[in-house]
Symmetry: D4
Subunit: 239 residues, 8 copies
């Protein structure tokens, strides 16, 4: 049941034995399936990349372990490896950027998560502005960056500890903030719980939240918002 001709397009699968690749994810959801490498063997990651490429998909892997990274670099020398972000991706097709997002961090320790957000958005074709170390204890540092920030259509704000930065950024901009809590901190941080709860309780109306340390999802949703933005549409009208 559940199958007819139309289904073929939006629900086709490549059966690899140990995994079932969702070939129509891009058609259904706008972007292809991403490979979460953490629980997979190196061989599995390579096999999925090749299966995706053979179906015209540009692959992208997150949470790549060092030995997986080496194997990916050897097999796909044209790929882009980011050691801090633990990501590997094949380069996007040339063409117009699909919107612009900001990736903002509270402190230098939040960088790995921010890098994952950035790589994800780049793979999705977005332009990315990177604003680092503008935590709330030195509030003027953020204010200096407002002009660049206001050119974007969405922002990923990455913060650990009390996770207050998204609320502050949210009060200055007219677009959604995807807040990413990090596990940076110690003691009553409880592995990122303090930042997570802070962000969920944000008094700024335009702040939404993703999982602790999920730079991937932060970048994904921000880039998705930017890719469907009117700003972008009027840019296209100009070109």
């Amino acid at each position: 049941m559940y199958q007819n001709k139309e289904t073929k397009d939006t629900l086709s699968t490549a059966e690899l034995g140990f995994a079932q690749i969702d070939l129509a994810r891009e058609k259904r959801c706008g972007f292809p399936e991403v490979v979460y490498a953490e629980g997979k063997t190196t061989e599995a990651v390579l096999a999925i990349f090749e299966a995706q490429i053979s179906h015209g998909i540009i692959p992208y892997a997150t949470r790549v372990r060092p030995e997986q990274m080496e194997a990916l670099k050897a097999r796909f020398p044209e790929g882009v490896a980011n050691a801090a972000a633990r990501t590997f991706r094949l380069p996007a097709r040339q063409g117009k950027k699909r919107g612009k997002i900001a990736v903002v961090t509270a402190g230098t320790s939040d960088a790995p998560v921010a890098e994952e957000a950035k790589e994800t958005a780049l793979w999705m074709g977005a332009e990315v502005v990177f604003i680092q170390d503008v935590g709330v204890a030195g509030p003027h540092r953020l204010v200096e960056k407002l002009p660049i920030l206001l050119e974007c259509q969405a922002a990923v704000v990455v913060a650990g500890m009390e996770g207050a930065l998204p609320s502050v950024v949210g009060g200055f901009v007219p677009f959604p903030i995807v807040a990413v809590p990090t596990s940076v901190g110690y003691g009553a941080n409880f592995g990122g719980l303090s930042a997570l709860l802070g962000m969920l309780n944000s008094c700024a109306s335009n702040v939404v939240v993703v999982n602790i340390d999920s730079g991937f999802k932060g970048g994904y949703v921000a880039a998705m918002i930017a890719s469907q933005s009117k700003e972008l549409a009027s840019d296209e009208a100009e070109s």
Copy 2:
């Protein structure tokens, strides 16, 4: 310090003694400040509404208590009161809708939170599609609604208990899902914690989360995304 001519526009305040109204929120953030009525006296809510109106702001209040609601209806008979949502708003200016969103619920008990999301989006000028009672235990109910869902630019998905519905909806659509966990359930639901954790750990890449029972923020961010959407822009080009 911090003040110069440009600031005047984006940072002006109306001092009411007990509260300081942020008059430039709309200019800075795209939409005016919303009145959270829960901790306020009826007099305070009325005073803020009148101050906002006198500055050309269309007011909107959430978490309105019954006695506040009566006073608001008496003072502003043209206003829109929604008892289930506990909201009161003055009607938006006539004009083209600013995008279309879906508000989707898992069960009938999630309705009050969904109503708050709907009212918020309507106040912001969005068109709202309401899809009720399509929880995951009867999966065909959602599938029947896919065509309407796919006409939107964002969706609010409201669910309690295990909070699985946003993941399932997310796998079918090419736009962001703002997931709203509700405190519907009992026992190991722990006041909405189960749905909240489920949504934060969603395996669908396009799912972001807001606070438990925060229909307001769900509707706000979904309508904000829709309001800046390319889809909408091309519609406008047509008009």
Copy 3:
């Protein structure tokens, strides 16, 4: 006190000094005691296996450490070792299968827990169908597997992250689902808590839950249900 002739049969014990083996577990509970190897020395595991064999019990060990596994393989070359599952068992007696169960996983990272469920059910004499990587974000993948699933008398559904898969499977089948939450995930997963709470709050009526990562108990109860099933009984009538 508490002892009479009948007790001899259902309550006899083998005293090994460091442990007391429950010899009548099979008579009382249907299946023999299983050896949880984690907190035991290699010598203890070997001694228990030999004591069980000498009383006509077919032994089975879970959470076997690598050095224990080597010793078991050396001593009992006819045994079945499963490295992913960390289990070792002596082969079941030949004979008719005692029912059929499905072991279903949401993602490839759930495999080790699923393997433990499978081995447990095989040791108990059940037939096992293995369905991998059918998580809710690609919902058609499950639908394709429904025909095989519907031939079973019970299912073990293994999932981490939001743990939504058991609810979805539960809505399609007329038998109990034993849901096994896994610690797969990160951040607000909190070591499997998110999946555990999701499954406990499942909106599907036929979903019961066992401990995080307890593939053993998932397989045990599913196989127990299948072993006493009417379906099976009518099969037997046919044979």
Copy 4:
């Protein structure tokens, strides 16, 4: 998409506006959809009952509020109301019982949850044995009841506080125990958390767990297991 002729049977829905009734649940899952009355108006519950009856479904509602109960009794005088359990059901069709289960409680305070389990199983056609107040501090009380217990094909064991009873019962019987933690207790009971965790960590292999205070799900799964039991099948052969 997703619809063809076969789907008609297993996926048909009755649209009531505020709710969508899953008419084919019984065909798909073995038993009809149950009405969770808590978040619904009295009118909604009555309307759903009538819609179900008109499609040949025998309705059953749980978590019924007193005013709903009165209305149900007035409209359906032949129905069975259980005030302690907060349930209302129309009587099952006459015919052979579908298996036998035990509902066992640790203390007298666990009775309401146990009553809900019992009513659910009766609605599903099971025979129910009720064993009360056999908590672990007086262990001989359980032992006296073993002969009746051993005639069943599954048991629901309801306990609050430390939740130890399912482990003890589990060690005496050859069938699955569905453990229902209750919120009975105080202090470090934390609303049933202590019993829930105790049951999830049960050292007995045949214990599975449902949500805190969920007598419904306990009774549902135990009756489902009993309904498909071989014991029962051989009984039928006799009849």
Copy 5:
């Protein structure tokens, strides 16, 4: 043991039967014992007040219930009752103020806790500046108040929800911030837990924290710091 002549002064007690009043608290700790009225009868509170007065102590009660408040006002008409703060105190001795503190709130709902902080500090002889509704989503509101804030020697910052305000205030001032988390909010606020964790993880070095909703302790410690301040000392030199 433990008793000699010197002890008489710092360790004397008034035995009231149901309570033992610490008469030398002021000598030992700088300020007298405060009456926490919550768990006491009205008679007990009155008796303690009179015992304190008879020993030359100026009494002060917090968490006063309405019926206690009425009795206190009747017996001590010169006293200062604050209904919002739920406090009652006899007026301080005339004389120079003992330092100046600020009490700052994030939103109007935090007022009751802030009022308790204010009353406590007034009872201790401090001058109090009250700054309301300067939450982080409208950051300019705080900046406008900086000049008054900088005249203080300590600040109590009261905030619910994400609890970010103390961090922001802390980055602007050269004195300690006593952060008071409030239970204002809903959902993932978990009764003030989100604000508490946020404040404990504050990235500002000068932020310390007290119990949720403890306006009393916030005011107490801030006033104690101000009372021993150098600023104040130089003021005294001037007088």
Copy 6:
């Protein structure tokens, strides 16, 4: 099974239908079964009292609701009712006291829990010394009471908030301290969790812990320890 002649004595039961009374608890455990009234009807409590009396047991009930208390006082006018403790007991047999215990509280709000401990110990025949309001912030208050404290064979120490008092008392005495955490406090007290964790982590070696607000168990174990004490034995030698 499990029954023989000896069992008759230690395992006999009175079956009341809704409850099974453990008649041999005193023989087995030293003291009779106690009636936990919270989840029972008034009729049930009366029936159990009469059944116990008819078997020569002196009954005692805890967590008695006001209407139950009235009924008990009417039926058993010789009984001892303690409204604060919510207990009702028939007077103990005349005779020598079975040891001496201290019940110590940190503050006046802890009194109800302490009263329950006291009543329990009196029912068990112990002599009870009551020491109130000696919390750690006024440390000399405890020191004054040391001589009386040192005449006991065990102590119950009742405290809320930070729960520090048992550690301090423990450092002064040569017998076990049964620490009872109370839910007195607010905010980060989390219903007694702070006191519970503090007591479990006590640095004093002789501190053991019971459930939050369980004055009953505190008094029970302290009186049990005192009843089997050598001190007592030598007293008996003297008499």
Copy 7:
């Protein structure tokens, strides 16, 4: 202050610079201070042992690291080292045993914690009965051991997972049970939390609890109870 002649005896201290040894602990509390080795250097442990010995104290150390153990064995060859318990003690003075306790475990993995309890009680002069592997899933194993158990004056019951064993033992004996939860288990065990909560909520009146894995405190309090027992006193009368 606080010092007079009597104090000299009960409050004398040996100042070692990095630590202050409580020389009068034995006089005040019945037994000397115990050395918790975990956070100390090897040199510090040796120095404390020698200081204690020079004051006539028989030293005992817990949580001894391997390198500390080697140094202790070299310096004090007459000492008793227990590698499983991680304890080292000098032998007790010859003489009559000070009471008898039982140390009971649920499973073989609980042995290290039980060994620490045993060593502590032996150091304190108690006689210790060791009963292993009598967890509740095989309930007859405990019953067989009842006769030995009933010769004791207190018991330490050590269990992980659901922690049900103390409740069951408590129902059979007339003396206090000191329950020690262990971190044995996985998943929803949450590091011993499940056993801890289970034990705190025990339905048996004579069960008290100590910290997770605290074999030390379990053995300490049980031996303290036994040392002051009447049973013992009458033994002495006999001798």
Copy 8:
């Protein structure tokens, strides 16, 4: 916006690419920015130190890793390295001490956190009194130290386990106590949670709390309080 001439002084920044140094922190907040080394490369720490020195700031780093420590010692041989505290600082300018604080520990295992508090206060110019191992189980040890303690203007009290020491110290002194919970302990300590909750619920009015293991913040706020103290001011008048 936000910038004018006055801002230059209080809001200037040094942009290092990977970090933005807050040059005016000392002018705004009284003390310079501190380098949290944990998430930084050795190169980054060295670069920040040199940038701070070039702007006339005396640098101080906490949570220094061993390889960072080596590099700092090599580059700045005049610096003060404290291995236990994991801190490195350049020596303060010569001159009068800025107040006196006490750093007090409950046990020897709390030393590393206490050392970090001490180093921080020394860097800030305070005089520091170090009082070790005065936990509440040996209460006379603290009393002996009272005279020294009473010469201070603030105290940092460091304790793990039940965290009771700050309450006890608080009851003896007329100045604020900054309580620092440590993660010292095991089991129900839950990584410092027990001490944290105990301190937040302290019954002493003058106790405020910082994050678990945050010796830094404890020392910082205590030294800040002391630096602005009247005591100090009158000292200065004397000089």
